[in-house]
Symmetry: C2
Amino acid sequence: MQGCSEFDLIARHLSRLGTHRDDVLQGVGDDAAIVATTGEPLAMALDTIVQDVHFPADLPARCVGWRALAVNLSDLAAMAAKPCWGLLGLTLPAMDEAWVEQFAAGLHALACQHELALIGGDITRGPLSVTVQVTGRLPHQPLRRAGVQPGDRIWVSGQLGEAAAGLARWQADGSATIDEPVVQRFLYPTPRVALGLALQGLATAAIDISDGLLADAGHLARQSDVALVLDSTRLLAQVSDAVSYEAVLRGGDDYELCFAAPPDADKAVKQAAQATQTLVTCIGQADFGAGVWLDNERVDLRTAGYQHF
Amino acid sequence: MQGCSEFDLIARHLSRLGTHRDDVLQGVGDDAAIVATTGEPLAMALDTIVQDVHFPADLPARCVGWRALAVNLSDLAAMAAKPCWGLLGLTLPAMDEAWVEQFAAGLHALACQHELALIGGDITRGPLSVTVQVTGRLPHQPLRRAGVQPGDRIWVSGQLGEAAAGLARWQADGSATIDEPVVQRFLYPTPRVALGLALQGLATAAIDISDGLLADAGHLARQSDVALVLDSTRLLAQVSDAVSYEAVLRGGDDYELCFAAPPDADKAVKQAAQATQTLVTCIGQADFGAGVWLDNERVDLRTAGYQHF
C-alpha cells in the first residue's frame, strides 16, 4: 500500500487505544512512553525483532539476545532515561538449549552493562522473534522529539553507516571475520544511554537512529515543526573508510542518537561526550520551515528509510 | 526434549538475567513481576500469543486483539493489581488495514473495561504474533503464588473447561455459531481483575488458570510447598453441560483464578465474589505435603497441562 508506512498505520489505528488517563505524560509517538507514578515518572519502550526482517537467520544467538535489548535501551537513551527493568518475550521454533544459552548470555552481558534486571518473561513456540520491554527512571526532564528550536545545532553520536556496512560485509561472502570493526558494530550495537543522560539540560530534543539518519531526522523535524539543514561535509568528516555515503544517510540499525542543542551549549555538549567517551559530530542546524535539507536540497522523506510495509 | 518444559527452560537460562537489583520485589516465577518505585510498587507482566500455537488462524481479528490483552490482564488479576498502562508489539505478515482496525477494536474494548491506556507500540512485519506488556498499580499487598497455608480452602472462579469446549466447537465443523455461550467464552476470555482486587486481605495466594487447572494448581502447590487436595464432586458441581471432565481438569485458556483462603474467610470470599459478580467454587483444600491430589489419587503433573515444548 503506497504511502502507508508503519508510522501512518500506528497513528491511525493504534495510537489512541484504551482509556484516556491523566497519568500518561507521553503516549505513542516518541522513542518511549512516559507515565506518572506516585513517585518519579517512568519511561517505557517495547520493540520486537523478527528473524529475516530485523536480523539475518545466521546471526549468532548471542547477538540476537544483545540486539533485542539494545534496540530498547536505545529508545530509553533517546529519552534520557536510566534503564531499570526488562521483560522478555521469546518465540522459538524449537527448543534448542545451546541456542537459548547463547541468547541469554548476550542479553545478560548488555543488561549488566546498564544495571538492568530482567524481571519476567514468556517463552512460546513459533517463528523466531524476540520482544523486549524496558522501563527506566527519569531522574530529570525527558528528552523528547518535539523540542528542536530554530537556531539549534544538530548533532549525531558515533560513526553513522557502520552497522549497514557491517551487515553488508557479513552477508557478502565467507571472507568477513567477526573481528572486523564494522562487523562488530553490526553484531553488537551500542545504545548511547550514558550520553543521553549526560545531555540532560543541554539538548532540546533527541531521537535514536534506527531507520537511518534521514528518516529519523525527518521525525525530529516534523515533530518539532522545524527544518533540519544538514551539511554533507560535516556528515562525512567522521565517517570511517569502509562506509558508503548511502549507508551514512540511509543505513539502519546504528542506534546512535541524533539530538539538538542551542549554539551556546557547544562546549557543554562536547564535555558531555567526552565524559561518556562518545564521539559526537555537529552535522547541521535547525531553521524555521519544514523537512530535512541536505546541502540545500530538500530530502524526499518518503524514500528516506526502511519501511516494513 | 522429554521433561524439559517451558518452565524448566525459563528457570534454567532466563530467570537471573542482568543485574541483581534491590528494587525487584518479585522477579521471574509468579504471574507478574513486582518492582519498587519511589512511589507505590508496580506489577508488570508480558505475554505473547502466536497464531496456530495460542489461537487458530481463523480467529477473528477482534478476538486476537482482545485475547492478547486478556492473557496479560489475567496475570495482573492473579497479583491483585489494578491495570494502568499497556504496550503492544504486533507482528503482521502483511499490511491489512481492515484486520488491524478489527484487532484494534477488540483490544480497545477490553482496555476501556479496565481503564487501561495503550501508551506505546511497535508494528513489525513477520508471522502473526502479538506481545502485550501491562503494568498495574498494587494498592495493597500483592497476591503471590507462594502463600498457600495447610488448612486453606482452594477456590476457583468461573466455570472451568468452557474455553476448551468452545475451541472444540469452533473447530469441529461449520455448525458452531459465534453466539453459543461456550464459543463466546473461548473468543472473549474474561480476566478476573475485579475479583483479584476484592480478594486482597482474604486470599493467601492466587494463580491464573491458563495452562489448565491441574497444571496451574501444581504451580501453586510447588511454590507454596503444600499439597492441594481437590474433590471432583465439588469441581463438577458448577460445570456447564457442554463441558467434558477432561476439559475441566486440563483445558487451557480459561483465565479464571485459582486461589486459597483460610476457612474463616469463607463468608468474606463469597461476599467478594458477589460484589464483583463472579461465580466462585470451593474445590478442595491445602494440606501438609506436596503435589496435587484428586479424590485421593496423586496427579501426574508432567502430563497435567499444555507444554509448548
